[in-house]
Symmetry: C2
Subunit: 582 residues, 2 copies
């Protein structure tokens, strides 16, 4: 080893030991008679001190050539510091070096290697290997490692087996767009990269494996958003001989274990909310319940007073922002602007201030008198000091817009602390949703999701009302995992493919292997998959999953560090039997 110790471990009880440490030069301070080097590695920073009047000339010369990020090895004696620092764990000691060896010089890095760097996103992506040296980035990946280890510990103890499923699989048109891989040995044919190991984990259940998991890369060729990557990682799980209750309990246990072991936080048992309630009270199938601020429907209270916007609306619905009655006109204008943004989509905002003196003033006082407004306040169970914010319009659109406004108010009122965690289940999702564009039913979760047994009869008569045994886990308004109890019967699976517009032939060609497998003794089974990148970013108190991926791609799917994707040789194309369209 080119070191006896790391730069993070020497303490007062090591004083007078001769040690060797290696690392990167964080900085050099040269005061003439004294010269200090801060040496950094993954574990910390240790101060090297040279008394230039006592030290050998060669040593001093070497020290004076050092620049930032030089890689050096230092051998010397540990001494107690004259003036101690409580800012770093090694602050009680310093090293008086006998020898300094430069292992590698370094050009001046294009941005500072500090917790708060002067480098922008683009330059840090290009020099990702330098960005990785910064504490916040390193800590994110250390957190990710710990999350993976603890996930495996928990599941291993429960007899789950990690089984690797293939990466080169078969393309299917259902779901998102596949990445494909041309086959050289079978020209004209392609593999696809998995969007998830869904069918394989079901086959493992049919194969008797009963408890499976895998922390696994998945792939989607989608246009990227800030929190999407073309390759992402799932904690993918499946169990046989279970009902929904068993899955919820098992994986609630996983997340509580992670909070406990990784963050030292005891979280309470997860509450459960039906999809119907989530939409009714939060306008959102992944509500952030760190704060209350539930929707209150006002159709009965506000209609018939001559205010056309409300009278004509399918739904009038609002929220009560506690303690926000003092909002200024400017703040209220900002909120109005906010709801009118195309991403939110409301046409306007009605508000009512419940003042501390008990009076209520609204933006529609022309139509509603004090008595009317008292009724509003009653509906919200509002108190003096509260602010009522109300939207009106077509039902679904209005709920969606109010959900955005609710989250915005939560943020403004400081109710969305990233270090506070609120986890819950959303259950009883609809099996199907109507796709207007394609004029057909679409599987809300995926085509393998089982309808609730009590709703099966409705499949023929009223498919839109059929509920699924499907569930999402939501933490702080983010869907971190989702799953379902699966169909395990060939006839029902076949009926499902019918409903989704598959011809018999297509269903057989694409999923025949699974439906055939159902005929050879398939057990009841179900599972869940967690978005691991997102789970890590939540645990790390961050919004962007990219910060929790060692080598992420940018929003054009490029790795700007290695400059990929790139052109390939004509000979490679020929071997694969493909050509580029001009």
């Amino acid at each position: 080893m080119l070191r006896t110790n790391t730069c993070g471990e020497l303490r007062i009880n090591n004083v007078s030991e001769t040690v060797t440490i290696s690392g990167w030069v964080q900085g050099v301070r040269d005061k003439g008679s004294l010269l200090w080097i801060d040496l950094r590695d993954r574990y910390g920073i240790t101060q090297i001190t040279i008394e230039t009047e006592k030290a050998a000339k060669e040593l001093i010369d070497t020290a004076r050539t050092l620049g930032r990020e030089y890689v050096i090895t230092v051998t010397g004696k540990v001494a107690e510091r004259y003036s101690k620092s409580d800012k770093i764990p090694t602050g009680d000691i310093e090293i008086y070096p006998d020898k300094i060896t430069i292992l590698n010089a370094a050009l001046t890095p294009p941005f500072t290697i500090e917790d708060e760097t002067d480098g922008g996103d683009d330059i840090r992506m290009k020099y990702r290997y330098l960005d990785l040296r910064r504490n916040p980035v390193r800590r994110n990946l250390e957190l990710r490692h710990r999350m993976a280890i603890e996930t495996r510990n928990y599941l291993d103890k429960l007899n789950f087996l990690e089984v690797e499923t293939p990466v080169l699989i078969k393309s299917t048109p259902e779901g998102a767009r596949d990445f494909v891989v041309p086959s050289r040995m079978n020209q004209g044919e392609f593999y696809a990269l998995p969007q998830s190991p869904q069918t394989f984990k079901q086959l493992l259940m049919i194969g008797g494996f009963d408890r499976y998991y895998q922390i696994v890369k998945c792939f989607r060729d989608e246009d990227l958003r800030a929190d999407r990557q073309p390759e992402f990682t799932q904690i993918d799980c499946e169990m046989a001989f279970v009902e929904q209750e068993d899955i919820l309990n098992t994986f609630e246990g996983l997340v509580r274990h992670l909070f406990k072991t990784v963050k030292g936080i005891d979280i309470p048992e997860l509450s459960r909310m039906t999809y119907a309630d989530a939409m009714k009270f939060y306008g959102n199938d992944k509500p952030d319940i760190r704060f209350e601020m539930k929707f209150v429907e006002l159709n009965d209270v506000v209609k018939g007073k001559g205010f056309k916007v409300f009278d004509d609306a399918g739904l009038v619905v609002g929220i009560c922002a506690k303690g926000a009655a003092e909002y200024s006109r400017k703040q209220l204008d900002e909120l109005t602007e906010f709801v009118k943004r195309p991403q939110v989509g409301a046409s306007g905002l009605v508000y009512a201030r419940y003042n501390d003196d008990g009076t209520i003033k609204s933006s529609v006082d022309k139509f509603y008198n004090e008595e009317d407004l008292k009724k509003w306040a009653g509906a919200f169970n509002a108190k003096p000091g509260d602010l009522l914010l109300i939207l009106a319009g077509e039902e679904n659109k209005t709920r969606k817009a109010l959900s955005e406004l609710r989250l915005e108010m939560g943020t403004r009122l400081g109710l969305r602390d990233k270090n506070k965690f609120s986890c819950h289940w959303v259950i009883d999702f609809p099996l199907l949703e109507w796709n207007e564009e394609m004029n057909r039913w679409h599987a809300m979760h995926h085509p393998f999701t089982s309808p609730k047994p009590e709703d099966i009869a409705l499949i023929d008569s009223n498919p839109g009302t059929v509920r699924a045994n499907a569930y999402d886990m939501v933490i702080n308004g983010v869907e971190v995992g989702g799953g379902s109890i699966r169909i395990f019967n060939k006839q029902l699976q076949s009926r499902m493919f019918d409903l989704l517009g598959f011809t018999k032939e297509d269903a057989q060609a694409q999923f025949g292997f699974l439906m055939n497998a159902f005929e050879f003794g398939a057990p009841p089974h179900g599972g869940i998959a967690f978005g691991f990148d997102r789970l890590c970013s939540l645990f790390g108190g961050a919004d962007v999953i990219r910060d929790f991926i060692a080598f992420p791609k940018n929003n054009s799917g490029r790795d700007v560090m290695i400059d990929s994707p790139s052109i390939i040789a004509q000979s490679q194309l020929e071997e694969l039997g493909i050509g580029l369209k001009k």
Copy 2:
């Protein structure tokens, strides 16, 4: 849960408990008054017993409809068996059922679900989900799970971080053929799937991560052999601030930990052999040293007696097969046939029997008298009862052929017990090998491998003699892992690319990002990668890695179960901007 217990856990102390178990019907025996069902799951088999004179008619009727591999749930009382079985751990008890529910029927499986099945390879691959129900296949994957868990435990304790590197990377012409992935967002450009995370793990070292590992899928588009798969798994590792000795110690520790925890075997410290010695004494860079039978060179002993084959040979070399002097003429003919096979490539075999009576008889008695042959025996340190087997010809070819013969003799003499493990290091590999076909130097390990510092001066004068800081771990004659200390200096890396025939422009285009990174403070580093599939198969006492992969591909790279690769839609090709060559 659709069970209170598994089919493997009930014992005599559970007697009189009411339990529910679920699983697959292994078999039904109907003796009229008594009817037995063997119910199987991943954990074992439990016997269900029905006394037809006492049981409810409905229960009996259900039981009599059951076929092999039906999935059922049984609730009943645990009872002590009248006639116990010591063949299965649940053999002391049976269950008298109150209720049997058929969860799913099953067609008759196309092969028997038994340890020794009647199904051939092809049918078992097509119905892999049924093959997975067989104990030997399940045990292989359980072993694999345990190996992965223990690998992570060991490395985690040593502060290694598991970091996921990207799967969508950049194609490089060096090494094996890449699988490529057309980019839709960057038309005309391609990603490649990694043959290994080599450059990324080096960048992690430059990024200060100092101890990295990953159990990771890698990809090679090669024509397949029995023990190769287009996608395979590596335990990939890298360390910074280390020398070769540190890597060898750390990963010797890993393998000893795995043997200890997974198989309960204490293996001794690993011996080390130079590449030169491996070739000299075993004709093989991955010698199986479960048995001795070292090569003995005979040029000095055998030449000049008029036997042209030996006189003209570059090398005459043999092995001594202990106790094989009694080999019959037929057996010796078989060996002669063996060495003449094209895969072995010798032109003939000379043998000499050292008989128990002290006489020596050879196949070339015309040229060598008893006294000559005594000298041969002396060179081999042979004893009465031994058989000497000698090959002659061009040096490298002859060593290779004798290596094959040595392994064959080891097998014939029962010296290659799969439950005995012999692990060692082969070190000091040459840096380069000459590629006759391409008329240029080729990196023996890979282009990032560091020459030994003491040999660097030879790079210009005599590149073929430069030794590398490269090492392989060999278990039972199988290379399970290999690695090297890496170049971490831009000039040396650039010189290496020169030697390998890269133009400056090509080197910069393909590996510029790495060479640039070397300029920003790269620490000394090195690593190793283990073939995880192969390591599992060795631990499992098997030859074929396919048995340790849940869903393997066949030798044409096809998954015959899901029928992949397959054609994709014209619209997909168009979106990707590629076309098929007619």
